[in-house]
Subunit: 454 residues, 2 copies
């Protein structure tokens, strides 16, 4: 099936690769890019090398360029900025919202950020500085300082007038923070509620309780609360309850996207790297993986040492070696299932740290039942091929390993949370390595017992 | 640190466990529950047995009860419904939005759903039926049929009048679908835009292009597009472009939450189970894990057979067995890192199926570099302890296994997507098992070569 958009994307990639930089090449490029949707342009910019992306970027109409730029992650934006000329950069920077600009500045070398800051208008600079004043990873970095508050003592009619006066500059007008005389947050009111209410009523009588966050609060916590409550916007306050900004839902979605990507990477034992997968240099992707891979490989030396302890038993019954990958693999899988379930339940608040005893008791029973099923099958198959004594060793080991792995997998994320670490730190590979070593000890102990080895 | 809310939750749990059902017990319960926030009440309902949840639910004020109920997943709602009396149920059902009601009815036994449907008012019943008319897992099931459209040919003033007339019933008024005379969708316009525009202007001149979805489209696809574009609402159309409903952002967030939970579970080789972790019966959690665990254990028999092929080599050099868990574990970790990165890149659209050759080439180089680092370290350590020949075997095997595993891990999700399967189907445990078997073949081939085994 021919897809005209795919063809255009292919043609653009080819043209850029040919390296044509003449006036006619650029015109052809502009023509090709003209009908490509923003989402596809973003994909293109993400998947081609930086210098190519910069050339493509130059031929886009200004509005389209800004829309594409806004959709990139801060890391990708920084890469693109590095490839653009300063005059081109100034336009883009001026067009960004203050909170997005702060994100970008964080990713740029300080000297570049300072230079760009100087180029901004007074208002834009003031607002960007305000956002940059909060700690990295705090929600203050993501809020918009362009908000409209209304007075508790105002009438609904006055409030609507105020909203209409600020309609062009405010980040959102659909949810409005309500404040008292000293600018302290008292509640919020939706625009819909205002519109549906008699104009003479007082705002204080129609507002409802606000879900808020401190500007210095961790971004993930605030964004999760935001999305869990399905808010349109959330007032951000200082420690005296004064409104300092507003968080809108697009910012909350961005934060959760990034946090999820981090968690997913960490579960697989890697770090996130800045930029998109296809455009990032090989060494950057490699660096994101090597540290954990090394840590895990070094911990896996434990399994070598455990096996060395049992080397004489292995020499007596070499057939025991055949089952090592099957047994450790099954233990790892069981542990990972439990860890994944509990990590998720912790993240969405279904499980709390105080539920640890309940989780142990549940996983103990679940792991034992899983082990019974697998152990019975393992006993039958292994007995048939290698005789009942080996069958008994395999069956009993599966029951023990599954029980142990399910409990360890269920407990680890809660322990991590209890000591204040990210539950995803005890990632799946970590649990696998741990259950490998423990599982081997169980295996050879049972084998020694059943087969009467010394 | 004493937390008054935690104390109350503990007291509620104790009271329910004691089994007191008298008038005074219920009054005490109502008093304890009075100041507990909705989110904590939801956690309580999720973490205690169904009959206890039903008792707690009864003593909550009607508004609070509905808020808690709305925050539960459809599966949890169905569990709770099963424990409540019919008169109590009727109130809850009537209070739900038509789309949420349809989700719940899906989880209930057909006879119960039918009975509840009869109890609804004519309008509520009509709208619920409309939503239920679309296929399961289609976005039509999640849209709201309570929307306001405006005519392209209307003036902004007329449009605002129409919005004001429907302000109480519509699901949202912040984004409005614009239609022509035959009710076909022409675009959308935000309420803010309308308010900021001269009342005499025509709606057709201020509307913008709509992001839409067909009512029969898969829910995940539509919801991902929704959140990627950070929309407030999205008109849902039939195949003649007529508006049949509107999707709001809370519905999109719910869908993505569920899909993510499914993906996360599948990555770890389990299925999602209905209900919350702590309240679900043990057998339900076990059932969600046993199938994949069995499939994986049976595939792992492959590793036993591979090792059996090399049994004579193992008997000659038993020390080779010591490294099996380390080598297979490292291969599994490398493969999972690659698979996780590529699966994520596919999900967010950074990588397309046509990028397969690029991915292979990238992972080949990344895997080789990772293997070089690990192989060098492995060579040094193993040479030192077991002599240079064993060191050489371990080093060379690590290089080969890392390269192979990174490529396999990177390719699998793309192949899955190409054949129309969920990329998460080739889950991490599956890749581990595959790379275990391949890795062992590599290991013993290199060992035979270097150590001159027969």
């Amino acid at each position: 099936v021919a897809n005209p958009i795919d063809d255009r994307i292919e043609a653009i990639t080819q043209l850029l690769r040919r390296g044509g930089r003449g006036e006619r090449d650029l015109q052809e490029l502009a023509g090709l890019a003209a009908d490509v949707p923003t989402a596809e342009l973003r994909y293109l910019v993400q998947s081609i090398p930086g210098p190519h992306a910069a050339i493509l970027f130059r031929v886009l109409p200004k509005g389209t360029a800004l829309a594409v730029f806004e959709d990139l992650s801060a890391g990708e934006q920084a890469d693109l900025i590095a490839a653009l000329r300063s005059t081109e950069i100034a336009d883009i920077i001026e067009g960004l919202d203050p909170d997005d600009r702060a994100q970008l500045f964080d990713q740029l070398p300080a000297s570049v950020a300072d230079r760009l800051m100087v180029g901004l208008g007074v208002d834009e600079r003031r607002m960007t500085t305000a956002v940059l004043g909060y700690p990295r990873d705090s929600i203050g970095r993501y809020m918009s300082p362009e908000f409209v508050t209304i007075q508790q003592s105002a009438t609904v009619g006055e409030a609507l007038q105020r909203v209409m006066a600020r309609i062009d500059e405010a980040e959102t007008i659909y949810l409005l923070p309500v404040v008292d005389g000293s600018r302290r947050l008292q509640g919020v009111v939706g625009l819909r509620r205002l519109l549906a209410t008699d104009r003479g009523a007082l705002v204080g009588t129609v507002m409802r309780e606000a879900t808020t966050a401190l500007a210095v609060a961790p971004r993930e916590e605030a964004a999760r609360r935001f999305l869990a409550a399905k808010l349109l916007a959330m007032p951000i306050v200082d420690d005296e309850d004064r409104v300092v900004g507003i968080l809108t839902y697009d910012d909350a979605v961005d934060i959760i996207d990034e946090e999820d990507a981090e968690d997913v990477a960490r579960q697989a034992g890697s770090e996130r790297f800045a930029g998109s997968y296809l455009a990032a240099p090989i060494w950057r992707v490699m660096r994101s993986r090597i540290v954990w891979l090394l840590v895990l490989a070094v911990s896996a030396i434990l399994t070598v040492q455990v096996l060395e302890l049992f080397e004489s038993r292995l020499e007596q019954v070499v057939v025991l070696a055949l089952f090592i990958p099957l047994l450790t693999g099954t233990g790892g899988n069981t542990g990972n299932q439990a860890a994944t379930t509990v990590t998720r339940a912790l993240a969405v608040g279904e499980v709390r740290v105080r539920d640890l005893p309940k989780v142990v008791w549940r996983e103990l029973r679940i792991g034992f039942l899983l082990g019974l099923v697998l152990g019975a099958i393992g006993f039958v198959i292994a007995s048939f091929v290698y005789g009942p004594p080996i069958g008994a060793v395999i069956g009993l080991t599966l029951v023990s390993i599954c029980t142990m792995a399910a409990v360890v997998g269920g407990v680890m994320p809660i322990v991590a949370k209890k000591v204040g670490a990210d539950p995803a730190v005890f990632s799946n590979p970590f649990i696998s390595t741990f259950s490998d070593a423990t599982g081997l000890v169980i295996y050879f102990s049972i084998a020694a017992l059943v087969l009467n080895l010394s």
